[in-house]
Amino acid sequence: MIVRTSLATIGALLVGVAQACEVPVLANAHSLADGNTSSMAWRFVPPQPKIGEFFAVEFGGCAMGIPFDAATLRIDAIMPAHRHGMNFRPKLVDIGPGLYRAEGMMFHMPGLWQLSFEQRTAAGVMRLTTDIVVE
């Protein structure tokens, strides 16, 4: 299975107050940023998900200068062209300081998927997205 990743960023809806926050180190990770105070690292586990097979996403980052907080953190994937998401709801697991693993994800069809990370903070909502072509 070939997975091509192209990165896109969606800016935070509200401008947050910059604080000291460092994106956790994650080997072989992709990065996402909004050019302001939100940035993150993420990777698939296994590195190339297969259609119809479960995979996880490990990630960590900063939303408006504040480390991600599992309580208001959400990960999802949709197929924009087909107007549907996954058939499975991922579960977030804390795997280390500032790092999370979203388990139970599946791309059940080939095509363009949009992976999104959403963090709600007191300052607003951060949303970072990336396009994945699954063949």
Binding site: G52, R83, H84, G85, N87, E103, M109
Partner: protein
């Protein structure tokens, strides 16, 4: 690894093109064709069924599959609806057990490859799907006590049960064990290689298969191209194993609807026989990932499982309600599907393909090459023919 694979595909494209009158396939198309094989896939044991692949269990399961004694009045066996020479389906629009059922009987070949079972996926394992008709009043309509009593009263069955599972513990466990034995038997029902598989493997080897008919090639090209059929009919089994609204009405009768996947998920969550229950033999629970994470969504209403396209020629009529009599009817449905019939809040996936008669004929020609005639002969017991000692 990726460049090597692409080179192989390019070579195959070149050879397919050089055949002159042959339908040409691009490198990308060949890559898609190759994704539908190889066939058969490697056999995989069901970790949730400790007797998966066990020869004693298979023999017991085969005997039980053809045994009407597992029904309330002794008239209905699994094989009444899953008729071997009909692709392990029954040829009816909707099934009839002890009473009429609302859905078409799916064939059983390659059933072991599924993630979900039944048109609504209310079962999450093959053995769970064998429990369901036993308890359904319209199908076999028995209780766990009936199954346990039948297994105890029939000396041959009792012998096979003891050899497989040891002495019975309680009625519920005995019924689940019987279902696991039936599942072990069903896992042996695999479809044979087809003309498509020969063509696919020839492309994989960088050759052409001149015996593969031109209409089928044109149909295949449409299937993996303009038709986008492989978005749902994906992989070697030609199904992504999930659920979609295909515009087939889900009204059963005035005032009665079939909620499809929406009901399936709700039923699954209430079942004591799901992989989240105590009968799952995988202590790690790793095989219950799908059941743990499946999400009930509004769009599930009216969605039904994407069936395999293998061995289609024997399993007419088609769709969840058996409303389409022939493969031509099915292709014509996708050609003319009314978008008004699709769930307003559902996926934007199905659209009328607007096919010409020639394209319909080509697509049907391709679909026919996914069947192997030898798969639909009358079945002779292979495992339970020897006496149990």
């Amino acid at each position: 690894m990726m460049p090597g694979r692409l080179f192989g595909c390019a070579l195959a494209a070149l050879i397919a093109t050089s055949a002159g009158a042959q339908e040409n396939f691009s490198t990308a198309e060949i890559r898609r064709i190759l994704s539908h094989g190889p066939w058969p896939p490697p056999a995989v044991k069901d970790t949730g069924n400790r007797v998966s692949g066990n020869s004693d269990a298979i023999a017991l399961g085969e005997a039980l599959f053809f045994d009407p004694g597992l029904s309330r009045d002794g008239s209905v066996s699994c094989a009444i609806c899953h008729v071997p020479e009909r692709g392990w389906s029954d040829g009816r629009a909707t099934a009839i057990g002890l009473a009429s059922v609302d859905r078409n009987t799916p064939g059983l070949l390659n059933a072991g490859l599924n993630r979900w079972f039944g048109w609504d996926g209310a079962s999450d394992s093959l053995w769970h799907s064998a429990v369901r008709p036993l308890l359904d009043a319209r199908e076999m309509g028995v209780s766990p006590a009936h199954v346990a009593r039948h297994l105890a009263d029939d000396a041959a069955l009792a012998c096979r049960y003891r050899k497989t599972f040891g002495d019975p513990i309680d009625d519920d466990t005995t019924m689940v064990n019987a279902a696991k034995a039936i599942a072990a038997f069903q896992e042996t029902l695999a479809s044979s290689r087809t003309p498509f598989d020969d063509f696919r493997d020839a492309l994989a080897a960088g050759r052409d298969d001149p015996a593969y008919p031109q209409p089928a090639r044109r149909g295949l090209k449409f299937f993996i191209g303009k038709g986008d059929c492989q978005l749902c009919h994906f992989g070697p089994a030609f199904t992504n194993g999930e659920f979609h609204d295909t515009g087939i009405p889900f009204f059963i009768a005035p005032g009665r609807v079939d909620p499809g996947r929406h009901l399936g998920i709700r039923t699954l969550r209430q079942s004591p026989y799901s992989l989240l229950g105590r009968y799952n033999d995988d202590a790690s629970g790793a095989n219950a990932m799908a059941t743990r994470h499946v999400e009930l969504q509004h769009r599930n209403w009216g969605e039904f499982k994407v069936p395999t396209l293998r061995n289609l020629t024997a399993t007419a009529p088609y769709m969840h309600n058996g409303s389409l009599a022939t493969l031509e009817d099915v292709v014509r449905h996708y050609s003319e599907v009314s978008e008004d019939r699709l769930h307003a809040d559902g996926e934007a996936l199905i659209r009328p393909l607007r096919l010409s008669d020639g394209e319909i004929s080509d697509l049907v020609a391709f679909l026919r090459t996914l069947s192997a005639p030898e798969d639909n002969k009358p079945y002779r017991p292979r495992f339970a023919s020897r006496a149990c000692e």
